[in-house]
């Protein structure tokens, strides 16, 4: 099924007699059982106002097309959606709706926020086959319950997005990246925290345990990038760190964003969100043979581990959550919610999708 309009989408949902497996580009989310509902026909940029920093587009609009349109005006989606195709071994074209449904955010999340922070409005069709809207096309909006946030990251389990509106930001004039070499995990997390706690507006803080390198990104006008690079260098030079500076770190940050160092590596793939300062203790408990990458100053950990390893059990008392992106069946993909939250989740799902059509089996 491939609806070309929201009306067609609503008709298909009303007529559906069994589970539907929602597909944008199929580049990032877990794929459920059921008849494929291909959403790439809901395409097109409906509104783009550079002076108001807003874009509205059909949910099936290719991410590449959106990014090219924005780049032509010197703007971008500041939350830096990752391209996980190589990591997950997927093909296809990422869609804007898929990015919203997965709340897909890259390294700049530490400074600019996640996809959900930039998603300002949407239209969707619920399991009753009814089209509804929430939010709008303005940046500040507290009118009614925020279903926009509820849908961001819901992986299509509550409704099928047909249109999304995003807030945009100007692309920077200049970028630089500082690399601290020969770092232990503890030192890396500590230094990333110092950088993120400085007034220099770090827009990326990542550590690669394999190369013992810590990367700090600075973006903005040339004057500002030069000033901040110099200040950060001074901050870390004092502790005797070996520092190098790159003025063209595009490829480096794409590889952090897309988790390239873990692509093609064997093992289960986990994504953990934790309090940054707990990362070293957590990584110390990783099994032999684990390959990891730390983003968000240590708050986001990507890990390839021997098949069957349960990183949720490893979390123990550490606050956070773990998602299993690739692994043998057995462990759930999404972290099981505590009982009260699970009850609310199930009840919300039953309200929005009473026939349990959408992405059955995903998210509990």
């Amino acid at each position: 099924m491939r609806p070309g309009t929201e009306t067609e989408l609503a008709e298909m949902i009303r007529a559906a007699s069994g589970p539907l497996s929602l597909r944008g580009g199929g580049t990032r989310g877990p794929l459920s059982v059921g008849a494929a509902l291909d959403l790439t026909g809901l395409t097109g940029i409906r509104l783009y106002e550079p002076g108001a920093l807003t874009l509205v587009a059909g949910a099936g609009t290719p991410l590449d097309q959106v990014q090219a349109t924005l780049a032509a005006e010197g703007q971008r989606l500041a939350f830096e959606p990752p391209d996980l195709r190589a990591l997950l071994g997927r093909q296809g074209q990422s869609t804007l709706g898929g990015v919203a449904a997965a709340n897909a955010s890259g390294p700049r999340r530490v400074q600019s926020g996640a996809a959900r922070d930039h998603l300002i409005g949407l239209r969707l069709v619920d399991g009753h086959g009814t089209a509804i809207k929430s939010g709008g096309r303005v940046m500040k909006n507290v009118t009614g319950l925020d279903l926009v946030k509820l849908m961001a990251g819901a992986h299509g389990t509550l409704g099928v997005l047909s249109e999304v509106a995003f807030k945009l930001l100007p692309a920077p004039q200049s970028v630089a990246s500082l690399c601290l070499h020969g770092q232990s995990l503890a030192q890396a997390v500590d230094d990333m925290s110092r950088a993120l706690g400085s007034p220099y507006e770090i827009t990326g803080a990542a550590h690669l345990p394999d190369t013992r390198e810590t990367h700090l990104r600075i973006e903005g006008f040339e004057t500002s990038v030069a000033y901040r690079t110099q200040r950060l260098t001074a901050l870390f030079a004092g502790q005797g760190a070996e520092i190098s500076i790159s003025a063209d770190p595009g490829a480096l940050w794409r590889s952090v964003r897309d988790v390239t160092p873990l692509a093609g590596v064997a093992g289960d793939l986990w994504r953990l969100s934790v309090q940054p300062s707990t990362a070293p203790a957590l990584l110390a408990r990783m099994p032999e043979g684990a390959t990891t990458l730390l983003d968000w100053g240590g708050g986001l950990i990507w890990a390839r581990v021997p098949p069957g390893t349960d990183l949720r059990a490893l979390l123990g008392p550490i606050r956070g959550h773990a998602t299993l992106l690739q692994g043998a069946p057995g462990l759930p993909v999404f972290p099981p919610a505590p009982p009260g939250v699970a009850a609310l989740t199930a009840a919300l799902r039953a309200k929005f999708d009473p026939r349990a059509l959408f992405n059955r089996g995903i998210m509990g």
């Binding site: 108001a52 807003t54 507290v142 500002s224 300062s277 986001l300 959550h321 309200k351």
Partner: protein, 477 residues
Amino acid sequence: MDMPPVSRQILNNRPAVLAALAAVLPEGGLISDPTELRVYECDGLSAYRCPPMAVTLPRTTAEVAAVLQTCHRLGVPVVPRGAGTSLAGGALPTADCVLLGVARLTRVIEINTADRFIHVETGRTNLSVTAAVEAEGFFYAPDPSSQLACAIAGNIAMNSGGAHCLKYGVTTNNLLGVRMVLMDGTTLTLGGPFSDAGGLDLLGLICGSEGQLAVVTEAWLRILPKPEGARPVLMGFDSNEGAGACVADIIKAGVLPVAIEFMDRPAILACEAFAHAGYPDCAALLIIEVEGSDTEIDDQLARIRAIAAGHHPVAYRESTSAEETARIWLGRKSAFGAMGQLGDYMCLDGTIPVSALPLVLRRISEMSADYGLRVANVFHAGDGNMHPLILYDANKPGDLERCEAFGAAILTLCVEVGGCLTGEHGVGVEKRDLMSVQFSPADLESQMRVKDVFDPGWLLNPAKVFPLAASAGRRAG
């Protein structure tokens, strides 16, 4: 403004309700004296007043849960209240409700500057959160103008913004987790000092839910390192269009100021007469503030100056000292006080696409003549959040109603041009019945289904947010 009829049955049961609440609260936690109850009869929307049946002031999450569980068992509606600064009537009581104030929940539970968060109880004021981390060089970004008085609980309920949210976002963008209590007394934790939800983003749903879904008692808030410095520039234009075009060009040029404030001529005149800030006599005024080191500020202001020159400002003044900065902000920050000098006023906060600014201001000025009421506009121009202040005379019969009709017409216009009813104040009772201008019956139904999940009996802050006609069947059940 209509409110549902008071439940006789609940009022008749008042002694039993008071006894049950007294049993779960410590000495001083329950207020039932009619004189003392008057303190809680309204919030910042003081045109509407109604003392509640009782006020509870719990000191812990467990006591909040006990109050809610008790009211749930006895079928008594509960109206949650932060500091009572809502401009939308979000904390307006009904005569048959128990008001639940979080003002005594004020502890700081944890400060962690390495991981950049603070964990507080939600009765704490907005400004005191920043005060708790300021010495270490951090601040809490959302800065509603009531920040000295308003509580974090209310900020979360209304998803409060402020003048600096163009750069830092509103409450929802700075909230990491909450501890909250459902109407039936169930206590839950959502999120925490880490990023994003593992499952559905219920935290995002709670923020801005106006006390419809749960009472939030603790919050993990993101704190940010303080910028090295900040400096404003003031510029005057001979038309609203000129000022609006200048804002759009600054944003398009990639400069992202921390605040862009707009004032129209009536606002400029009122503020100048009140505060003597030295504002130029012109059609529209912008105050733009940028942050960074001195070098960075000079660089950004040079860019802004070059862009502004293309729009022929009639006045242009960059601050060169702390005194000048204070003077530039003085007028804007006293806008509400200045309007208060002129009479009673109603403050709206509809939000519009920035491109619609000249049209909307022209229409407001035409409507001002039609309704025979004066209006002044102050405006967070970077994000389209308007604040029309309509002047009226509360002692003049029919004036409040005329003012409300004018306000409704302005908000309807905001929706027509692609905006929304409220950018940061919330719906409350004030904009409740305008919700059908922005939302279809299906949109409202889907929002009310969410409330059904969290509060099946519709006991928590009922008769707010949703038009009374739309929620009638649910509230009766």
